[in-house]
Symmetry: C2
Subunit: 547 residues, 2 copies
């Protein structure tokens, strides 16, 4: 990432770090926007009022810290390499490429869920508590989000901190309905396009623009190398769909997939540092005939692979059959499971059908099995759903899946807008997040049409940051409205630079503004100076104050 | 508009016209997409199934008809110039520029509401009934939307057909909660940018991309000429905010505004053919102090002007004082009133406050006064509203405003995304339209930052077409899902061209698809051929059929 792109002076926005109390060595990074004062002319007199700085959640890690030099070939600094806590027992192993990796000692467990259930607060738990409480302490806002609260939510399975011990570069973040809504960016090459460097660059751009996690969905060649490049540079958790690599290992022939090759792939990725896996273990062979009456059948790639395997072999889904073994492996690295919805609807007509909800029920059963093994778990959701059917998805997910966090792809609220599906899906995403979904998987403008480029990734992330933040506001997250109010006050005061810095994409806001005119004047080209309502309002106010 | 831009062969998509029954001379234009057959290979045998054509609502008028040559200087053909019905009495007058215009004879009324109340079905009513029932007749779907139903909705004040007798170029369209949700595109130059030609071009682009009405918000010079260019070429109703031109007439000095100059402006615009006026008659001087505790005060341009005028003169809003006279004027041309919300909230913090709802109550009072004069009326709404407060806006509007149609600007569900406010507002727009809003005023990516260019207009319209269509689906409009299903079936069949033609922006969908690869192959670069779930699904299906 080119540092020079962050061209705002350090005095206006800077990376700062807050310390932990339970773990004083914690350095919780965030952005601080230092605002300029409000200047008012009241009855001829000039008044200046200071505006307090605003802290912003920052997913870009050290990439926003101008003090840190990054060497992409070497990777970023492993933030969590020395973190430990009561009971954790780690050993070193060497992976297939001769690189030293970590795992919990045989018979022990490394997961946040395991320690939370014992009432142990890990550094991760304190870290996310500090991270969630943006501006609260400074503004005297009483927040319910404490390290104890985080621990209890984890213990109840209502929240997840994906945190593979082999990905110490990642900052802890929490996925749960009582915390700020998170967004995921999908990247990864397909067989027909994009290089390793492009994918690493997309991953870094994703973090820079605000993705809370990234999923590497690579299906082409060099899967291991691409993933290594991404993991060693990613300050956010990384997810994958291991069946994709397993399929590559058997030459793309679905019939040749087996539990053995899948297991080998799982361990390889656990050792490398993947933080969560999408596993389509809930797609039972009995559900496949339910998709025959659908307009679009099965549209999940993993779901397509598994259902074809089941039918070719006339056997039950091997991911379901070996689910307990999967959990035993993941527990040694603290890899979380994202239970995939292989039967998610691929069009409005197929939404909320029998196939979809049958699988969701099985996912609920698997949640309990995973919890029994102390593996952190969340649930993937649709897809394409018209607005009036979105609520039912959330309600059923809570009912069937024992309050495990929900992680949805959109949903897209109509099928008619290829080229604009970041918008069709942001509409559904905002709603379902308001209803309780904890993380939103973004959709880019290229959905259904092609692989996204960097600009598409940006568009997708911004649409989803909007959806997530809108849901935080609607749910009443203690810190959410502070940013809106600070930005709107800046807008009303004509403090343009402050407005840009508080916005989700300062570069774009400033560029659009400048397209029309100079930065210095107190109006934009939209209304011109004579018709600017805010200006009229300020004039009125400066005349009538005290009346 | 350059016809060559519509580069799809006529045999795939064409302009067709449906006849009226009550008024056989009616030619109701729409697009027909002629689809290719579905080709399946089942157990080695190739099967072909025809797909019926799909009719699409078309706002682009003759601009999509390749048989019609348009001369922008002359204007398009006046579709409604010969339309008449029982009781209508029209006379000819000459306007300030010497052009012949029409008005209802002294003491008579030209409005659709007047005739609806007498049980008379006008050509407009039959036209919109045919227009709304896309595909219903052809597919044997029983639709409740008949000319009688349209008449009854108009008579009850629950729907409006803006249809100035001096704008015969405009096709009738209906704004009401029981009909498809409509969208408006705002155009118009400000004092600091854009030319007459650019604004006419933006107006035509708006219709081409799908705007159901356009509002000319010009505030700079040449207001009359810009408006004439737009009106004579616009196949959709045109709205304005007459106070803008009135203010230009008094040199931009708010204190010099008066009822007399406003009245003169109204008549000028009625004669020219404007179909609806935003009039901020509900902003009473008593409500102004309620805005003082706001974070952003008054953000409506009209609201800012009126409140400043009230305070300078220490008088009541002259639009409120002269409201009955306004109605008497408008009734002679059938200009509808869009009651402006001068106190709409301009940020999340100000949403649903006392000032906003006080004005809304007065708008409800004015609805009854306008109905007493047979003037068609609808109500403008916010603005900036967080998701959890949107429903209250709709509920209160229905309660206070006697079921008059609601016409909202967004609402934007967060303040933090300048540069992306087409998305923040499409999220709110989709929701409020689902709850019952009849028309959505678009927001472009340039909102809060500058005047939109043609590409911004396109982005804004597409975001709003998505929101409107999503709401049609959610409300169960009889014709809405046909298009989604046809597109999704085309997607599943790999009928790419059909998919593009059924999408809201065929050019963009096709361009994005082509960015990656050739049109002929059965996959896109997103997943590549090996990981295409739809392909896997079809392979499964072709193997297991009949099992």
């Amino acid at each position: 990432m080119n540092k020079s792109k962050v061209h705002t002076p350090r005095s206006f926005v800077e990376k700062i770090y807050l310390k932990g109390e339970l773990y004083p060595y914690l350095k919780v990074g965030m952005k601080r926007v230092n605002l300029t004062p409000t200047v008012e002319v009241i009855m001829g007199e000039t008044m200046k009022t200071e505006n307090p700085p605003v802290y912003l959640y920052d997913t870009s890690g050290v990439f926003f810290d101008s003090q840190v030099k990054v060497n992409l070939a070497k990777g970023i600094s492993p933030l969590r390499s020395d973190w430990s806590w009561e009971g954790l027992q780690i050993e070193t192993v060497v992976d297939k490429c001769g690189i030293e990796r970590k795992q919990a000692k045989q018979g022990t467990i490394a997961t946040q869920l395991f320690y939370a259930k014992q009432g142990i607060i890990t550094p991760q738990m304190e870290y996310v508590a500090i991270r969630e409480n943006l501006n609260c302490k400074e503004l005297g806002i009483d927040s319910f989000i404490t390290p104890e609260f985080v621990m209890k939510e984890l213990a109840a399975g209502r929240a997840v901190i994906p945190s593979n011990i082999n990905h110490p570069e990642a900052e802890p973040m929490i996925i749960g309905t009582k915390f700020s809504v998170k967004i995921n960016s999908n990247i990864g090459n397909s067989s027909t396009s994009s290089t390793l460097e492009e994918e690493v660059e997309k991953a870094l751009c994703s973090c820079r623009y605000g993705a809370d996690t990234i999923m590497d969905l690579s299906t082409g060649s060099s899967i291991y190398q691409t993933r290594e490049g991404i993991l060693r540079n990613s300050p956010v958790p990384v997810g994958t769909v291991p069946i994709y690599q397993a399929l590559e290992k058997v030459g793309g022939v679905v019939a040749n997939l087996s539990w053995e090759v899948f297991k080998e792939t799982l361990i390889e990725q656990c050792l490398q540092g993947v933080d969560y896996f999408t596993i389509h273990a809930g797609l039972l062979s009995a559900y496949i005939p339910l998709t025959r009456k659908r307009l679009c059948g099965i549209v999940s790639r993993g779901g397509g692979i598994i259902s074809q395997w089941c039918e070719l072999h006339q056997k039950e889904n091997f991911l379901y059959e070996h689910f307990d073994e999967i959990c035993d492996i993941l527990a040694r690295y603290d890899v979380a499971i994202s239970l995939g919805d292989g039967l998610r609807p691929g069009c409005i007509s197929d939404a909320n059908d029998e196939a979809q909800f049958a699988e969701l029920k099985t996912l609920g059963e698997l949640v309990l099995r995973a919890r029994g093994k102390y593996v952190q778990t969340f649930i993937e959701g649709p897809g394409h759903v018209p607005m009036q059917k979105i609520k039912e998805n959330m309600d059923k997910q809570i009912e069937y899946c024992h309050e495990a966090p929900f992680y949805t792809l959109g949903p897209l609220v109509t099928d008619v807008a290829p080229g604009y599906d970041h918008i069709t899906s942001a509409i559904g995403a905002a709603q379902i997040a308001w209803y309780g979904t904890a993380m939103l998987c973004y959709v880019t403008p290229k959905e259904h049409l092609g692989l996204p480029n960097k600009e598409d990734v940006r568009e997708g992330i911004m649409a989803y940051k909007i959806a997530a933040h809108a849901a935080d506001l609607a749910k009443g997250h203690p810190a959410a409205m502070i940013r809106d109010n600070a930005l709107s006050k800046a807008r009303y005061d004509f403090r343009w630079r402050d407005q840009f810095l508080l916005s989700i994409d300062p570069e774009r806001a400033e560029a659009y503004f400048k397209e029309g005119k100079l930065l210095e004047d107190d109006y934009c080209t939209m209304c011109g100076p004579n018709f600017c309502a805010m200006r009229l309002n300020r004039e009125r106010k400066s005349n009538v104050k005290g009346k």
